[in-house]
Point group: C2
Chain length 345, copies 2
DNA sequence: CTGAAAGCGCTTACAG
DNA sequence: CTGAAAGCGCTTACAG
């Protein structure tokens, strides 16, 4: 039995494979309800397996980029990278959405992971890129079920083997921040981190912690704060840190936003940066560059991460496999003006 | 002669109208070259007039947002507004692109305004939103020819009657900046503006200028600088301003980026803000909020502008007409910590 | 350069 | 719940 399958799958391809009529397959594709559940399930499975796309064939290839929170300096860098990679020939269109929006799942029905994933597939998206977004296991599974590849940038939870992700060497970044501060002579340092549950935050902290400990200057427990990655956390928790009886001489912030918030907390108290306090940020977004003083940061190559995510997504969409399910790009230390030797006591 | 046109136009509709065969229309649609130029032109015209979309009918409605420069704090706010409005039922997909990319215009051919516009139409975009982007007259014309509505946000050149645009009350914004500084007691003020050719920059400057002049404190010619809207201009030109023998006591910057650059120039020189110099920004992006000290700004409602642009674009795409070809949303003064009374001499 | 005709992929009213 | 058959929108090899 030679199943001829030259080009793209048609209704006839599926009908033959399923042993049903073309009409029945058509009904399943169009979501009519006069098909038995069993037949429907089997046909749907076959449609997926054959990458059935409808007669439109391939429309313009499109990748959907999903952000969780508000767009910010961080997302800009990632998007720039994605956009530039997408502009390279042959070119992909980039769709932007927040959460599960932008996909029509049918008249006002509540959007479930499955309906969203099916909508994404039906809209013809080649792949989905999710950015620092807690994609649930359900979302990922539904997407896989709909045959839409998913690439996660900077996953909050450690990468499962079944999800492809792109991150940065956060642990190494924490180390370089510690080494920089140690080399300047700081020994009483604090960590003002982001969400405790976030994998990237944990890695940054552990790299930082271990290096200081090895150097004989362990970080005191009361100088370790896990808050959120946002500006407000820098202002509030950073301010509280400064109000201590014995404040640190340097702070490693878990993000640029936190660092910038901390710098505002310093200004309000007349604490000078870097004379009275050294601050190291993490990310190297435009915020770091525009900060006054310009921020010393551990740079994570966000644009490059966006570019790699896009190219990986395209490769998966083309049916190729990827060498590794998780890629980590190298961080690097960028020294600007927010760090200096501690004052002589 | 009753031309029956119930639903969507088909090849037959066009063929009948053009007095040619269905086959010929099909060839035009598919860009085959065995059609005479005259026939092709006529058929293309008819395809447009009938809003021919192909059998796919309406795909998921999609709006293409085109940015010129790099994504920045400014674009974030606009995009947030567009995205939120797009997420409201019934929901539109949002495509992001920079310049004329993201559209497949055929094998490696140089992208001309016409081929781009045709590609946009063929890709099924309902409308295009262009952000602070020098859309050329050619682009706009080509888009109009392809029946794709265009809405420009914050047009660089004064809105022509034929282009729909959304802006802010820049002139009034300039006035409110001047009034704020006058009320604090400043009389020796400078304008550190963006691109001289940009309409929004001119309006800001004129509103500012006229108010100070009326108040009897005209801005000295040597304290008026038109640079670019970027950070670097704030650092360099702003720094030069501070190095004058008689520096101003307050500066109205044409954008948040310029203001933030100026604040860095101040830091480098030990000039305190607002004690030694008051700074007013323009935009109210996240940069203003995160600046240290937080920036007093003339706020332009960028998110709202994004939302209005999207809704206008959708209305145009639906064939409705708009009341006004140019809408200006109100600016407002947001007082934060970068302005204060001038020091007593 | 044009179109009649064959044929493809799909949908749907209807018979079973 | 299923499918034979009619028919629609479109494409294309080919004759003129």
């Amino acid at each position: 039995m030679t199943t001829s399958r030259p080009g793209r799958a048609t209704l006839a391809t599926i009908a033959q494979a399923a042993g049903v009529s073309i009409a029945t397959v058509s009904k399943v594709v169009n979501g009519r309800d006069d098909v038995s559940p069993g037949t429907r399930a089997m046909v749907e499975e076959l449609l997926r397996r054959h990458y059935y796309t409808g007669r439109g064939g391939t429309r313009q290839p499109t990748v959907e980029v999903v952000f969780a929170g508000p767009l910010a300096a961080y997302s800009n860098e990632v998007l720039e990278g994605v956009l530039r990679a997408a502009a390279e020939p042959p070119g992909v269109a980039v769709m932007l959405s927040k959460g599960r929006t932008g996909i029509d799942t049918g008249a006002g029905a509540p959007v479930t992971p499955t309906s969203w994933a099916l909508g994404v597939a039906k809209a013809g998206r080649s792949a989905v890129i999710s950015v620092s977004n807690e994609m649930t296991v359900e979302d990922a599974t539904a997407l896989a079920g709909a045959n839409v590849p998913l690439v996660v940038i900077d996953p909050l939870t450690p990468a499962g083997a079944d999800v492809t992700s792109v991150g940065a060497t956060n642990y190494a970044g924490g180390i370089s921040a510690a080494e920089h501060l140690l080399s300047l002579g700081h020994t009483r340092v604090a960590y003002l981190g982001g969400d405790l549950e976030a994998g990237c935050n944990q890695a940054r902290w552990q790299g930082f912690r271990s290096t200081l400990e090895t150097a004989g200057h362990p970080v005191r427990d009361d100088l370790v704060l896990h808050e959120t990655f946002r500006y407000a956390a820098g202002v509030a928790a950073g301010g509280a840190l400064l109000d201590r009886q014995h404040p640190p001489t340097a702070v490693f912030a878990g993000s640029d936003e936190i660092a910038v918030g901390l710098i505002e907390a310093c200004r309000r108290r007349g604490v000078r940066v870097p004379e009275d306090l050294s601050v190291v940020g993490f990310d190297d977004t435009q915020l770091a560059e525009f900060c006054s003083p310009p921020l010393t940061v551990v740079r994570q190559p966000l644009r490059e991460m966006g570019r790699v995510a896009l190219r990986t997504a395209l490769r998966l969409a083309a049916g190729a496999s990827v060498d590794s399910h998780h890629v980590e790009l190298a961080t690097s230390l960028v020294v600007r003006a927010s760090t200096a030797a501690p004052r002589q006591r």
